[in-house]
């Protein structure tokens, strides 16, 4: 009875968030409209990260690699092979999935600090590769997708991702799909196993669960979601560059998730939104935004380790997923 009651509350809450974001499409002024589209795509990245870090307890410092696998998977195929956007997006997802599978099999042989360092090193290799193959990737400078490549005509339907409203709705669509998928995953039996692994891996194994297979699945799903964010970023904003593969882009999702609340479904959105606006507002006064990021990280980990939604859940709303 109680279970059913809180389940309907949960779906109502997530539906309301999506409806609010949809309504904002018509209400927001141009600048904030653009910011929110970008935040939604990056929040997808953070949600993918959260699945691994928050729910499975695996601290990776290499997720920029999965994001940029999607970014380059979509960007390179669309730009150099002339693929359509849908095919490019699929290519991004496939590259993310394959990479996550390989890296997962290798990196999951280690645990704890070693896992963090191994993922960071594989990500660094990926970053260096984007520099090494500068002939196609154009390295740091990056490349821009042409206006034509970001337009689809299907009979009478015309999608033009350079148009702000279409871009916003496309971002919202991806965001909603991933949000509901994450919700379904963490409420499913497999999701509970991940939390059990986070809390006590040895005991979970003794209960008869194949913890390696579960963790590998988590890495792959997390990698695919992050790759989806990357591919969407390439197609929606039309820019692909190796900056997105640097260590910094592995650290940012960690920051967003910590701020919003690890192991909460809506935390990544709140964290990303909050951090984006903090940086946006402070950069009006000072160019020292890294300072803000650094201080935020330290203060969070010292005084606020559960993040915004984690604290809300602990104090007031116990049923928050």
């Amino acid at each position: 009875m109680k279970q059913g009651n809180s389940a309907s509350k949960v779906y109502l809450l997530h539906g309301a968030v999506i409806a609010l974001l949809f309504a904002l499409n018509f209400l927001l002024p141009e600048y904030h409209h653009g910011v929110l589209a970008r935040v939604m795509v990056l929040a997808v990245f953070a949600m993918g990260y959260n699945l691994l870090f928050g729910y499975s307890g695996l601290l990776s410092l290499g997720h920029a690699m999965f994001f940029s696998a999607g970014l380059y998977g979509a960007g390179l195929t669309v730009s150099h092979l002339g693929w359509t956007m849908a095919a490019g997006f699929a290519a991004g997802l496939v590259s993310g999935a394959l990479l996550a599978l390989i890296i997962g099999v290798l990196a999951l042989r280690t645990t704890g600090v070693a896992f963090m360092i191994v993922t960071m090193m594989f990500a660094q290799v990926f970053y260096l590769l984007t520099l090494y193959f500068a002939e196609w990737t154009r390295g740091d400078e990056g490349f821009v997708l042409t206006q034509n490549a970001r337009r689809i005509d299907m009979g009478d339907l015309h999608f033009n991702l350079t148009d702000p409203a279409t871009r916003y709705l496309a971002a919202l669509f991806l965001f909603s799909v991933v949000l509901l998928a994450t919700l379904a995953i963490v409420r499913s039996a497999d999701g509970r196993v991940l939390v059990a692994i986070r809390e006590n891996e040895e005991r979970t194994r003794m209960l008869g669960y194949d913890t390696f297979a579960n963790k590998l699945a988590a890495v792959v799903v997390s990698g695919v979601i992050c790759a989806a964010a990357g591919a969407a970023y390439a197609l929606l904003f039309g820019y692909v560059g190796s900056t997105f593969a640097t260590v910094q882009y592995s650290i940012l999702p960690l920051l967003w998730v910590l701020l919003g609340g690890a192991a909460t479904t809506l935390g990544p959105l709140i964290g990303t939104l909050f951090m984006f606006y903090v940086v946006d507002i402070t950069s009006g006064y000072t160019s020292a935004y890294l300072l803000i990021v650094g201080i935020a990280l330290i203060l969070l980990v010292l005084y606020f380790p559960k993040g915004i939604l984690g604290t809300v859940r602990e104090r007031w709303i116990r049923w928050l997923p």
Binding site: T110, V118, Y132, L302
Partner: protein, 293 residues
């Protein structure tokens, strides 16, 4: 130049890299070994050492050696003091929880980097070498300063190893490393040992940085490469094994120097990073390490 002299040049360059790398990595290894803290800000302490060295040297007038020696003496002390403050204010309050300290040191990394950019600026600036004597080989002349860097770094390494293995301070540190609770019970001030080790680790990085500034210039983004390379060295050498760290630094520095001369530097880095990731995956205790967690 033919192959032989080319190889000699690559080896010398590699040895300079090894020498500086060994000092930096030793600092990281000490902090990880004794405190079980992965200090992601280690590269920024390195950068801070270099930037401060430029600042101190620019204040001094007269012969370049005066400014350099002043920098070599003062810069590590300032960096050590900053590390001490950071340890007291942040790491201790986190109770040295491994994951929380990683996030916190990432925060420190950003803060130090931004402060360096704000106060020092985006330019790369050199410190003049204390002397400019060139040693003439039959095929080329080689900077005497670079050779002295190798020598000085070797002396520093031996001194650190001596302190760790032969003195009371070293004994206290090793006792803390093996079992901090028992050490505490025997009256060792574990908190102070941790603070001291963290400061010492940062100072070793700063010394290495001062040595490199006359060769490489100081820049606010120069911390990332030494950080990654130090990780590599510490892992290959075996987490917590100091002798392994030194051997691995020589190995990595030499191969980096040689591959960079004969192939592209980016390719050299890709290969080195990939090999190390594989070592960590298939041999987590490192090449020389005893079983570590």
């Amino acid at each position: 130049m033919s192959f032989g002299p080319h190889l000699l040049l690559a080896t010398l360059e590699g040895l300079v890299t090894s020498a500086v790398l060994a000092l930096t990595a030793l600092g990281l290894s000490l902090v990880f070994g004794v405190m079980r803290v992965v200090n992601v800000a280690h590269g920024e302490f390195f950068m801070l050492g270099a930037v401060l060295a430029w600042w101190i040297a620019s204040l001094a007038t007269g012969h370049p050696a005066i400014g350099f020696l002043l920098a070599l003496g003062v810069s590590p002390l300032i960096v050590g003091a900053i590390a001490l403050v950071a340890e007291r204010l942040v790491l201790r309050r986190l109770d040295y929880n491994p994951e929380a300290t990683i996030v916190a040191t990432i925060g420190m990394l950003y803060i130090i980097q931004q402060l360096a950019l704000t106060f020092y600026g985006p330019e790369a600036r050199p410190v003049e070498a204390p002397f400019s004597y060139r040693i003439l080989f039959p095929w080329f002349g080689y900077s005497g300063y670079k050779l002295s860097v190798i020598a000085f770094s070797a002396i520093m390494l031996l001194a650190t190893l001596f302190v760790l293995t032969r003195t009371k301070i070293g004994l206290v540190m090793r006792a803390t490393q093996y079992d901090s609770e028992t050490a505490q019970a025997f009256g060792i001030p574990v908190g102070r040992v941790y603070a001291g080790v963290f400061a010492l680790g940062a100072m070793l990085a700063a010394i290495a940085a001062v040595l490199i500034v006359p060769i490489q210039q100081a820049h606010y983004l120069m911390g990332l490469d030494p950080l990654l390379l130090s990780f590599i060295v510490v892992i290959i050498g075996g987490l917590g094994s100091l002798r392994g760290t030194v051997v691995a630094a020589v190995l990595i520095g030499l191969s980096d120097g040689i591959i960079s001369v004969f192939f592209s530097p980016t390719l050299a880095k890709i290969i080195a990073t990939m090999i190390v990731a594989m070592v960590l995956v298939f041999r987590p205790q490192g090449l020389f390490g005893t079983a570590a967690r």
